[in-house]
């Protein structure tokens, strides 16, 4: 029973982390109609900034906050220098340009920080397990990830659904020619949205950094999962990204946790051990394929356009 609770928490934590990454991606893709493969690079930059600033300041929290600001500024600079010239273009041009940016960022990181990767150690108060219910201990840092991601989700909800900026963002997602025609400064809105997306990617990267390693190319694997999530959730929909991210996180974690034992009941031990990880990693892609067939607009599509 305790095992199930812990595994559910693991799935929730992984899902919420994916949400941070997918939220930025879905904002940019849904509202600006811009395919940004370099989103994973911003995730990587967030982690590198955090590791560097944390080493300079000696404080994890301060390093993380500085990194967040740095990624936001980097995102805005990137949009201003390179990406805004690509808005009117074909999707293929955008993919090629942002794919080039992945290579650019990977090599820039190699030049600046070297090929070996960095470590982002946690302060002592975050490395202890916390007793959440009697008998169940859970790592404090993973609880922090859950807390921060939920706060961000709530914050995004309030901003998008309750503020004027959010109204413009939603309007932009529905019909961007129209809000341009109504005299809204669409360029500024796009820069803002892109910066927000970059900061969210950076936040995901720096939150993930102490669990994983800070290394070149760290954003590429996880970016694929983020794409899966926005396809499942419905492109441009924050709510969709949230639900789909938790869905994917749960399926991935629970698949890994319980599938081997289930398979062992039907297959021999060795075959089950080998098949289970392969099968559990396929589950989310299977889900995506099914959703593309049955409900191509995603589970929670943004407003009809």
């Amino acid at each position: 029973m305790f095992l199930v609770v812990e595994q559910l928490l693991n799935g929730l934590q992984f899902g919420l982390l994916l949400f941070l990454l997918a939220a930025g991606l879905t904002l940019v893709f849904g509202i600006m109609d811009f395919v940004n493969l370099a989103h994973g690079s911003l995730y990587m930059m967030g982690a590198y900034f955090a590791a560097t600033f944390a080493a300079w300041t000696g404080s994890f929290v301060l390093g993380a906050l500085l990194a967040l600001v740095a990624t936001l500024l980097l995102g805005i600079a990137l949009e201003f220098v390179a990406l805004k010239h690509l808005y009117g273009r074909d999707h293929l041009d955008q993919v090629l340009a942002t794919f080039g940016l992945i290579l650019f960022f990977n090599d820039a990181v190699r030049l600046i920080w070297g090929p070996a990767g960095l470590a982002l150690p946690l302060p002592a108060w975050l490395t202890v397990p916390v007793q959440i219910i009697p008998g169940v201990f859970y790592p404090a840092y993973r609880l922090l990830i859950i807390g921060v991601a939920l706060a961000v989700a709530a914050g995004l909800y309030v901003v998008v659904m309750r503020t004027r900026i959010g109204m413009l963002i939603r309007a932009g997602a529905s019909n961007r020619e129209m809000i341009g025609a109504l005299g809204i400064n669409i360029k500024l809105l796009f820069t803002l949205v892109f910066g927000l997306g970059a900061a969210l990617a950076g936040l995901a990267g720096l939150m993930q950094a102490p669990i994983l390693t800070v290394q070149i190319g760290m954003g590429e694997n996880i970016l694929i999962l983020a794409f899966v999530i926005i396809v499942i959730g419905g492109i441009g929909s924050i709510r969709g990204a949230f639900m789909a991210a938790i869905f994917v996180g749960m399926i991935d974690t629970l698949g890994r946790a319980f599938l081997p034992d289930l398979l062992r009941k039907v297959l021999s031990g060795a075959a089950a051990s080998t098949a289970a990880p392969a099968l559990s990693s396929m589950l989310i892609y299977l889900l995506m394929a099914i959703i593309l067939v049955v409900r191509p607009e995603g589970l929670f599509p943004a407003a009809k356009r």
Binding site: G117, P139, P210, E220, I224, G269
Partner: protein, 394 residues
């Protein structure tokens, strides 16, 4: 909503990052070197290349009087890419030797190409069980080990410590399966659980750690080379399991991962056939010159094995005075191990896998205040892999 379909296709582009390197031709000893030079595990390939280059420096960049040309190829840690690069080296570059191979699955995919063309292949790391057994070949030599040997030594050490039960975790590919099988073959206690994770994409081990913790096992054994080892160890420490269940490792803590694992690695034992502080003269020279040539870096066992591979090739080329068409003579010479290995003396078994000692290594703070690996004891002497009987060569 064609966007969504379209996007699904675009995803594959992200996962296909590859690089290529130019090649030249001359009357030289040509060596192809296949390793990983891009992606997160490129640091391992770099260390192997550094050590190989250092060995060539020590040899005056000549073998048997002829200049040496090395063509480095990046396998991107992918079996299909490794196979293509091996084919290119054999068929278009026509190399005399192929060296390298970090990953067992890459080596297994590339093996047939090299063996069919009768090109000597020196594995400087990967040691899948098939290579030691039914797929052994007169043209294949190893300067590393058979995968099972190192975890077998760990299992023996756990017996010595009186460990009663273990939970095994490893990646789901050729080497991961060999490693867990290796521990199981020598460990006398109970194996409570066995988990395989998706390789190399799985980065989060929370589900497996939770299971290990709840299994009430007395110990955990893992095999996670490269960056995955850093991630596993960090997550193991953060989950607070380090204080409860001791960890035993194979190929998880090395000089590349240690600067990132930091104090999380302190006191976590592993086994290895080479440790940087082995007291023989060749090793002292190798380690000292490496640290001088590549400031700020320390060699790893991957590098030590690559350094040995260069010297093994040199011994063969010298024996035939640079005439690399005399393959039988070169093979006979290599079987004698007529060079001084940085791990100390070893012999080859019938399957061209070393018969060698395995040492217990521990993580300590060295004289410079840095974390370092230290040889603590010899776990097994002159260990031969358990698949040599299946090899038809005598």
């Amino acid at each position: 909503m064609t966007k969504a379909y379209w996007l699904a296709g675009a995803m594959s582009m992200v996962s296909a990052l590859a690089l290529a390197q130019p090649a030249t031709a001359a009357d030289t000893i040509k060596i192809g070197f296949v390793s990983t030079f891009s992606g997160p595990t490129a640091v391992i390939g770099n260390d192997m290349r550094n050590s190989f280059e250092l060995a060539l420096d020590h040899l005056g960049r000549k073998m048997g009087g002829k200049p040496v040309e090395v063509i480095y190829e990046d396998d991107g840690q992918k079996p299909d890419v490794g196979k293509q690069k091996t084919e290119k080296l054999v068929q278009s570059d026509k190399v005399d030797f192929i060296v390298g191979y970090i990953w067992s699955n890459v080596l297994l995919a590339s093996l047939k190409t090299a063996v069919d063309s009768k090109t000597f292949l020196i594995s400087a790391n990967a040691g899948p069980s098939q290579l030691a057994g039914e797929l052994c070949s007169p043209y294949v030599f190893s300067t590393s080990w058979q995968n099972d040997q190192t975890p077998q030594a760990v299992g023996t050490y756990m017996n010595q410590k009186g460990v009663k039960s273990v939970f095994l975790i490893g990646p789901n590919y050729a080497a991961g399966k060999d490693m867990l099988a290796g521990v199981k073959s020598t460990f006398k206690g109970q194996v409570v659980g066995e988990e395989y994770t998706v390789w190399p994409s799985q980065l989060d081990f929370s589900a497996e750690l939770t299971k290990a913790k709840n299994s009430k096992a007395e110990s955990i054994f893992v095999f996670y080379p490269g960056a995955a080892g850093v991630q596993f160890l960090n997550q193991y420490a953060q989950a607070g399991i380090k204080a409860q269940i001791p960890l035993y490792t194979a190929f998880t803590i090395d000089e590349l991962s240690l600067p990132l694992q930091k104090d999380n690695a302190l006191g976590v034992p592993g086994a290895q056939q080479w440790v940087n502080d082995l007291p023989n003269d060749e090793n002292k020279k190798f380690v000292a010159d490496y640290r001088q040539k590549y400031t700020g870096l320390r060699p790893t066992f991957y590098g030590a094995q690559s350094y040995d591979a260069a010297n093994l090739i040199n011994s063969a080329v010298v024996a035939v005075k640079g005439d690399t068409s005399k393959k039988d003579e070169m093979k006979a010479e290599m079987e004698k191990v007529n060079f001084k290995s940085v791990r100390g003396p070893f012999k080859y078994g019938n399957n061209h896998i070393p018969i060698q000692n395995f040492y217990l290594q521990d993580v300590v703070k060295d004289g410079e205040g840095q974390l370092a690996l230290k040889t603590v004891a010899t776990i097994v002497k002159d260990d031969q892999d358990r698949f040599h009987d299946k090899c038809p060569m005598k």
